[in-house]
């Protein structure tokens, strides 16, 4: 084979490799946008918005979501900020429990666990920037007890996890999880003082 042909083959291989690199990067970057929708569409069908739905116990063959911890109880609530700020509160009697706030794309916005919260109860207020400025005009009385989270996402979901230490406490924990609140905050009309 002549030297010229060798050079030619090398150049074609180089072109091929560069193009393969571009395709690789393109695929990796576009996968989240395409596939996530499917996974979260299944989640959205779980029930009505603005209530915590306790997910069935994580067991082989009955996993609502992949890779959930089988030692934990889970509850999930979808919310929309279009109708007003959302107030979340929960109190679970478990050695460990946590709350994580996700945007509609499944990315974590905020998270905390029962120790970071200090007291046994945990209360959050999720709102958009315009809602925050309205709220500042007329703050609710218990604003200092709430963790205020500002987000630019119109919808998202909250996942509560609580450690189930033994079988007998499983019932109590799922009751506490379903008792958690996820509701639109009704702000009164601004006072005309």
């Amino acid at each position: 084979m002549s030297r010229r042909n060798l050079v030619r083959i090398a150049l074609y291989s180089l072109a091929s490799l560069l193009l393969a690199g571009i395709i690789h990067i393109f695929v990796v970057l576009t996968v989240p946008g395409h596939v996530r929708a499917e996974a979260f569409a299944r989640l959205a069908r779980i029930g009505a918005d603005r209530t915590f739905h306790v997910l069935p116990a994580v067991a082989p063959g009955a996993e609502t979501l992949p890779m959930l911890d089988p030692e934990m109880g889970h509850a999930l609530c979808w919310f929309r900020l279009g109708d007003g700020p959302v107030r979340l509160s929960a109190a679970v009697n478990s050695p460990f429990w946590s709350m994580a706030l996700f945007n509609g794309a499944g990315e974590v916005v905020y998270s905390l666990n029962n120790r970071t919260s200090g007291s046994g109860e945990l209360a959050m207020l999720v709102l958009t920037t315009p809602q925050l400025s309205i709220l500042r005009e007329n703050p609710p009385d218990n604003l200092d007890e709430l963790i205020v989270i500002e987000t630019d996402q119109a919808e998202g979901f909250v996942l509560l996890r609580a450690f189930v230490q033994d079988r007998p406490s499983a019932g109590l924990i799922s009751k506490a999880l379903s008792g958690a609140r996820c509701e639109t905050l009704r702000t009164g009309a601004p006072k005309s003082s």
Binding site: Y12, F26, V28, V31, P60, L65, P66, R115
Partner: protein
């Protein structure tokens, strides 16, 4: 080629020898078309295959590795690297947020052999500081496998420990005394160790941390 004039000293300048490397050369039209198609086809195959490989093999792009255990601590946040983001999106899992904990996955034993659910493993040592941790077995894709014991996991809360605080867990299909992690029937095996409320999720150093070792005891 027949010349109109006889070649001689006066016309010899036409016959200058160009060196081989400078002589213009073109492939035939068909050869060029084939080379182009071949280049593009190779590129598409290589690109898709490498992307598939990167997104399906969990352990290729783990930003944190301690021993055989690897984690994607930023997955599911807007700061995640593209590979973590794509791996999490592809499997549709909801990540542990860093205010909650971190999930470590092991797909090989400490000698580098892939895990198999038919074998018996000893998981022993210590974990980094955490308020609570849980360990469960799953198949290669992270799905839980039905086991004879009826459970697939154990937690630090109900664990028998040695005097120095370390532990020994036997992972196998047959019931065992002591700490038993039941294994099931499935395709491949991974261990998932989740540390809840652990200082490493809030930026503590990874230096000097140890994770349990996974030793293969035997295979039938």
């Amino acid at each position: 080629m027949k010349s109109a004039f006889p070649l001689g000293p006066e016309t010899n300048w036409q016959k200058t020898e160009t060196p081989e490397i400078l002589r213009p050369s073109r492939m035939s039209r068909l050869a060029r078309a084939l080379a182009l198609i071949g280049t593009i086809a190779t590129a598409v195959v290589l690109g898709l295959w490498s992307a598939h490989l990167a997104l399906t093999s969990e352990e290729l792009f783990q930003p944190i590795r301690i021993g055989v255990w690897g984690a994607h601590p930023l997955a599911g946040t807007p700061q995640a690297d593209p590979y973590s983001a794509a791996i999490y999106a592809r499997t549709g899992r909801v990540p542990l947020a860093n205010g909650e904990g971190v999930a470590f996955v092991a797909t090989t034993d400490s000698s580098g052999e892939p895990l198999s659910p038919a074998c018996t493993y000893r998981i022993s040592g210590q974990t980094p500081t955490a308020r609570l941790w849980t360990l469960n077995s799953a198949d290669r894709d992270g799905h839980l496998m039905p086991t004879a014991g009826g459970r697939v996991s154990l937690s630090s809360a109900g664990l028998l420990r040695l005097a120095d605080g370390s532990f020994d867990i036997t992972a196998t299909r047959r019931p065992q005394p002591g700490n038993w992690l039941p294994l099931g029937e499935g395709n491949g095996l991974t261990f998932v160790l989740r540390l809840y409320d652990a200082p490493i999720t809030t930026g503590a150093s990874l230096v000097g941390l140890t994770m349990p070792a996974i030793t293969r005891v035997g295979c039938p």
